[in-house]
């Protein structure tokens, strides 16, 4: 695939038209990614696949709550997968912030969604361009494979160094985004 498909309009077809073909396309792309995310967080393959299935069904059922002006499809699915992970792997409730006084706009500004998707592309690019070591640290911290302390133990680096590296990597990501946002 030369260009990344437009997952936002795919999800909007699911949301507004209950389009099963769109769901299958979304599933084929995201279910393997959710499964990989779960496995990196410590689930075995069978559990990871079961959770991926539930996450994708949740995407269908909660599609009305998707707000393309606030989150990309990948981000939205990430938050659903993360919450299911906490529930399935750690058997814990996940307190979520209360809703903003204003909900998703019924007719969101197309420009917002496009702008957001561009930011996501820049962020993805910035992440790909990071030195391997920094990118790996961010991934490890994010997927909960290792705590900061465990990363320090594994690499022999002091804890403060690890934290500042992660922060530096995120700063670089942010900077890359700011520089291209305009």
């Amino acid at each position: 695939m030369a260009e990344s498909p437009d997952w936002t309009s795919c999800l909007i077809r699911i949301r507004d038209d209950r389009d099963e073909t769109a769901f299958v396309a979304l599933f084929r792309h995201f279910a393997p990614r959710v499964k990989a995310f779960l496995m990196r967080s410590g689930a075995d393959a069978a559990l990871a696949e079961e959770v991926a299935q539930e996450v994708m069904a949740t995407v269908w059922h909660k599609a009305a709550q998707f707000d393309p002006a606030r989150a990309s499809v990948a981000t939205w699915i990430f938050t659903i997968a993360r919450n299911r992970k906490i529930d399935a792997l750690r058997k814990q409730a996940r307190p979520e912030p209360e809703d903003l006084p204003w909900g998703p706009e019924p007719d969101p500004d197309q420009a917002d969604a496009v702008g957001l998707q561009q930011e996501m592309d820049h962020l993805g690019q910035a992440l790909a361009e990071l030195p391997d070591k920094q990118r790996e640290l961010i991934e490890k911290a994010y997927f909960g494979e290792l705590t900061h302390r465990e990363i320090a133990d594994a690499t022999g680096l002091p804890l403060g160094t690890i934290k500042s590296r992660i922060r530096l990597a995120l700063d670089r990501l942010r900077h890359a985004m700011d520089g291209r946002a305009r």
Binding site: K35, W60, M120
Partner: protein, 214 residues
């Protein structure tokens, strides 16, 4: 609403986004974000990083998995957009799930000098409690192991780190020795979370003690 001046750290925001924090810490983070648009925006940025990372790796799923998902979407009820979750009576929605509808429902237990607390039920790696500090009262200097997070719900307190009012969160680590004093004008109610480092896991009775050693 007064302006919030004490915010979450990047570590807490990232940990909350990644889903690697204990339940009690998630609770205080979610409660602060409910009151703070700045931290909500930062969280959105961290979630976006999660979305980008999600795209980077994949692991093949079976056709049976897709068939099962199609089965689930055809059978399941499609939830209408639920009513927005809102808090009430000074208690933001995520906290209301733990304390009931309002502060009047809280079952306070005295810990001395008019200070009261109520422990909330969460997973054991960290403890969440509500603290009630009468106006003008100084909470005696107390020691804690690990992290202590304090979020003001009502009133205000002041210590060496500054003044903390509704929505402000104080983040204290091992080293900080502090003696918070509640404002004279109003009783102060806070949500406080202490983490218990895993190395103390074997000392349950000690962890069960109120950290207010009065």
């Amino acid at each position: 609403m007064t302006k919030i001046t004490h915010h979450l750290t990047e570590d807490l925001l990232m940990g909350y986004s990644a889903g690697t924090l204990p339940e009690a810490v998630n609770l205080i983070v979610a409660t602060h974000i409910s009151l703070c648009d700045a931290c909500r925006a930062s969280l959105d940025a961290y979630d976006a990083v999660g979305g980008v990372l999600l795209e980077r790796h994949s692991h093949e799923v079976s056709e049976a998995c897709l068939a099962g998902a199609l089965d689930m979407i055809r059978k399941g009820e499609t939830s209408a957009t639920p009513a927005p979750r809102r808090g009430c009576d000074l208690v933001p929605a995520p906290l209301a799930d733990y304390v009931g509808k309002g502060l009047s429902d809280v079952k306070w237990r005295p810990v001395g000098m008019g200070v009261k607390q109520a422990i909330l039920e969460t997973s054991p790696e960290a403890t969440a409690r509500l603290l009630y500090i009468p106006a003008g009262t100084a909470v005696p200097d107390h020691s804690h192991n690990g992290l202590e997070l304090t979020l003001v719900l009502q009133g205000a307190f002041e210590d060496a780190e500054g003044r903390f009012a509704r929505g402000d969160i104080e983040i204290a680590d091992d080293d900080l020795e502090h003696m918070p004093v509640a404002d004279i004008s109003q009783d102060c109610i806070c949500l406080a979370v202490t983490d218990a480092p895993l190395r103390f896991k074997g000392l349950l009775p000690r962890l069960a003690q109120p950290f207010l050693k009065i």
